[in-house]
Amino acid sequence: MNLTLKIWRQKDSNAKGQMVDYKVTDISEHMSFLEMMDVLNEQLVNTGEEPVAFDHDCREGICGMCSLYINGEAHGPDRGVTTCQLHMRMFKDGDTITIEPWRAAAFPVIKDLVVDRTSFERIQQAGGYISVNTSGNTQDANAIPISKHAADEAMDAATCIGCGACVATCKNSSAMLFVGAKVSQYALLPQGQVEATDRVMNMVKQMDLEGFGNCTNTGACEIECPKGISLENIARMNREFLKATIKG
């Protein structure tokens, strides 16, 4: 199929960007979206133009590196997939596809479609861990039984890949789903209880400092999340936050 692509081009973080039109031809419906981008870039290199920079790595939907806002949706029109798992059969011959970077004040553009997500890193550093040193004599893994239900729920929260689609999708650029998932994972496990108060307070504080917006509970993040992280994690974080506030 033949397609028209409208792509955001921006030289670096200080430059002013703009949408630029490109044409690609003979795109197979079996290609992944990023393979289509590879075709475009190969074409650009051959004609002496600078290829479009975009983040990607594992190309199997787990590393969380790929992003892209495609036709007005994070990771494109398919559900439960990252951009690298999106396939061209979702599009039709002759389509015009708009491709933009994640937009959020806390995710500044580095180049073209590449954004800086280190705000997520700093939130994790503020408390996204359990303070346990490596040692060869930690207590036995089976010393504390954890109910299957709690372990499964913690696992569901922990599957977040940190791609940032939740922020990109949110009309307020809120990071609540991302932060809520991490807070939830530890809140559901006994190992996480000791530091629960400080963790939620510090992570929320850092989230606010980074300039993410407030949660309006539209639920868009949950729908666009490639891993289906549930909105309940936000509710759980809210509860943890209230609990921590009351405890002081």
Binding site: M19, N71, G72, T98, A104, V109, N214, C215, E232, A235
Partner: protein, 225 residues
């Protein structure tokens, strides 16, 4: 506590708490008004009680006013922060693909409801204050001195089709505001974890019944005076 109100979650909790109060108030308000459909006398009794009881007037009423003002001010504060958080806007954004119109436009439905409340103040509340506290007439009686004035005043207000139209529009918007706001408030309080479905159903019912009740009252009196 000031630290709490500076945090994003704290603000949303405050938003939710004020919303709970307002939603509770709506139930009371509707319960009183609905009596006007079948018993003018009961309506008058209740109105008089609400209008003159010192607990209601001096304790609940200021809290209500504070709640309304707080909810709106905080709503705007959040909106401003959110706009700042967005940065550059998308050239193409398909919000309808993943969220409801109501959830994305709380500020619009909220502003319409705010406009309505102003109208409502002018219509009911300021004349009421005028009669009770400027003229000092706490009797609640018509000039004939025999019966209460509330029911008659109510009927009188709904004569104008324009006003009734404005009421209907405002209540539709209130319904939309509630359709998202009800569950959203519980979600902000962390109360939805594990029972999201139930909360959504209650929210749906609430957001239909309350505005519909008010609309029926307005239309009823418009066509029955």
């Amino acid at each position: 506590m000031s630290g709490f109100l500076k945090s994003s979650i704290g603000r949303k909790v405050a938003m939710a708490l004020s919303a709970f109060f307002l939603m509770f108030f709506l139930i009371i308000h509707l319960a009183v008004n609905i009596t006007s459909l079948f018993s003018p006398d009961l309506f008058n009794e209740l109105s008089h009680f609400m209008g003159t009881n010192p607990l209601v007037q001096l304790a609940l009423q200021p809290v209500l006013i504070f709640g309304v003002v707080f909810h709106f001010v905080m709503g705007f504060v959040l909106e401003l922060k959110n706009r700042k958080a967005i940065g550059v806007k998308y050239a193409q954004n398909n919000g309808a693909a993943n969220s409801t119109w109501m959830s994305r436009n709380m500020i619009i439905s909220g502003v319409v409801v705010l406009a309505f409340i102003l109208l409502h103040f002018i219509d009911f509340w300021i004349p009421e204050l005028n009669v009770k506290y400027i003229h000092g007439d706490m009797s609640g009686l018509l000039p004939d001195g025999e019966s209460y004035r509330y029911f008659e005043e109510l009927q009188h207000k709904f004569v104008s089709p324009i006003r009734v139209g404005a009421y209907v529009i405002a209540f539709v918007l209130l319904g939309l505001h509630l359709a998202h706001g009800f569950t959203s408030a519980f979600q902000s309080m962390g109360a939805t974890a594990g029972r999201k479905k139930t909360m959504q159903q209650i929210g749906k019912a609430y957001s239909v019944i309350i505005p519909l009740g008010f609309i029926i009252i307005a239309l009823f009196h418009h066509f029955n005076h």
